[in-house]
């Protein structure tokens, strides 16, 4: 009896807690609709979701890394470098062969493989090299962007027009009224949720973040799992990039700037603790959407000085976090 009540109280508490970002998002949506009726249009919703897709997909991968007790500051640079390399590869291949579709397909595969490889390198430096993830990825943050700048001479690397025509539907087409990036985002999020909550790997990730020592004693291959989380994040960055390239068909040293902060913020706003141990993919998705809705609303209205946009974002983030603060 008593316990039943307790359980209910507790699960209500944790429900409220989990539901914090959702409440925040709902309030924002109401505010958005009041400020500009176009906010609630389907087109706008699709725009917002589509542009959330990149950060959202990266945030899903980041969620694993953060739950396992790690961090990755390099994702923005990594995305930019992958985009640049993929474009260079596709442009080169287009000179050799005459099947743009094949070229694009190879480019897309390359994007994911490259991302996973970069993630793997991070993982190995962190586990074998025994270096703090913060340092490793701060280092590669600089390295990736520097190489992109080097390859592009500081300018933009641009996809050939012929390829661009073949590739751009990947970003601009809709299936059943929903743009492809949103579908991919959805699939990645579902896959992430399933992996985190329904596989041994996901359980191990949580166990490592909660207490690495205990996990090691419990026969968890801590190093392997950590390497895998970084590789998984890398693959997510690769997927985000393969959706990003057809959008503007170019990569430049400004591509992906501060994505790391956005992705980490999405995860944390979504209710995952920075120290790891536990977290939720659903929360992360909501967090990512919430962040892009804020700037969408700011773009749709002009009630506040443009100078203060960042301030509004700051206030909203803090407020949402306050709504879901832990007891």
């Amino acid at each position: 009896m008593v316990e039943g009540r307790l359980e209910r109280a507790r699960s209500f508490g944790s429900w409220l807690h989990g539901v914090g970002p959702v409440v925040g998002l709902a309030l924002l949506c109401v505010a958005g609709t009041l400020l500009n009726s176009d906010f609630a249009s389907l087109d706008n919703a699709m725009n917002v979701l589509t542009r959330t897709a990149f950060i959202g997909i990266i945030a899903v991968g980041m969620c694993f890394v953060i739950i396992s007790g790690g961090i990755d500051l390099s994702v923005g640079s990594m995305a930019a470098l992958i985009a640049g390399l993929v474009i260079l590869l596709m442009n080169t291949m287009a000179g050799w062969m005459d099947q743009p579709i094949l070229v694009v397909a190879i480019g897309m595969a390359f994007s994911v493989v490259l991302g996973a490889a970069f993630g793997l390198a991070h993982g190995l430096l962190i586990t074998r090299g025994r270096i703090e993830p913060f340092i490793v990825t701060l280092g590669t943050l600089g390295i990736f962007r520097a190489y992109l700048t080097y390859f592009s001479n500081g300018g933009a690397i641009t996809l050939d027009d012929s390829l661009s025509d073949v590739y751009s539907p990947v970003y601009y087409t809709s299936l059943a009224g929903v743009p492809i990036p949103v579908w991919v985002f959805l699939l990645v999020a579902i896959a992430g949720g399933v992996i985190l909550n329904r596989t041994a790997f996901g359980r191990y990730v949580q166990a490592i973040g909660s207490n690495e020592q205990v996990a090691r004693y419990a026969a968890v291959d801590v190093d392997k799992i950590k390497v895998l989380t970084y590789a998984l994040l890398g693959a997510c960055v690769g997927i985000a990039t393969l959706l990003y390239v057809p959008r503007l068909g170019s990569s430049s040293p400004t591509t992906g700037l501060l994505w790391e902060l956005e992705a980490i913020a999405a995860v944390i706003v979504g209710g995952t603790a920075l120290k790891g141990g536990a977290g939720s993919i659903a929360g992360t998705v909501v967090g990512a959407i919430l962040l892009s809705v804020i700037s969408n609303i700011l773009n749709l209205t002009s009630i506040i000085s443009v100078y203060l946009n960042a301030a509004v974002q700051g206030f909203v983030i803090i407020t949402v976090a306050f709504l879901q603060r832990r007891k």
């Binding site: 176009d38 500081g154 601009y172 503007l248 400004t254 591509t255 773009n299 443009v306 946009n309």
Partner: protein
Amino acid sequence: QNKVNLGVAIPAATHSFTAGIVWWANAAKAELEKEHKDLKVTIKTAANAGEQANQLQDLVTANKINSLVIFPFESAALTKPVAQVKNKGVYVTVVDRGLTDPSAQDAYISGDNTAFGKVPAEYIAKALNGKGNIVAMRGIATTLDNERMDAFNSVMKDYPDIKLLDAKYANWNRDDAFKVMQDYLTRFKQIDAVWAADDDMAVGVLKAIEQAKRDDIKIVFGGAGSKGMIKTLIDGKDSRIQANVSYSPKFIYEAIKLTAEARLKGEALPATTIVPSVLITKDNAKDFYFPDSPF
């Protein structure tokens, strides 16, 4: 002939325009050092004002320069550090962003930020016959961006029937411009022209318009004359790209060349040289097309 040890301090290649600056500076170095045995050029790129101030110190202390060409990251912040360099007897040429205290420089070679805002305003106003809705993009909050915006607004004051619907920051960044434009398109059902204020941002703007399949926008006016946009203009590939305004990073090349050659001869430069920003249209576009530059 004098020996000239010339330091060049410029912003790092963080977006296309500054990439052009870096490229042209390197081109000048390669060309001039080959031509003049007595000339040594050292190029430093900085990611922020503080770093640039550090580099000035290092150029003087360690590289022992006797001439400096600087594209200040920021006018006000670099005034004092540049003055310090000049006090050590270094000949200083300032490019583009003028210092707040002109006595800190020997020569000033500048692009024309006023024209950068004025030219598009005039072009758009005329093309719309003084009537219509426009939206604008702004770069990163800086003095330079303010100058351009103010110049644009001052022209538009004379056209009461042209409505500037909104001007939001898109950070001279393609992706941000794409997002801002998407939201403009959601918000405003009738837009006649877009002042994208930079060719990078224009790229994002065009993609957003394409995606929304909107045909009310007749003009997208970028700025600075990147090779991609100039090419589009020459080829007439996009009816919305009708004109551009020159603000070529090539002026760093001119500045280095003029300074180096004058110093080699022991001469001084005129106190101020303005490289005019002019309207680029299909007719004169070829003169502004540099396919090898990254910009």
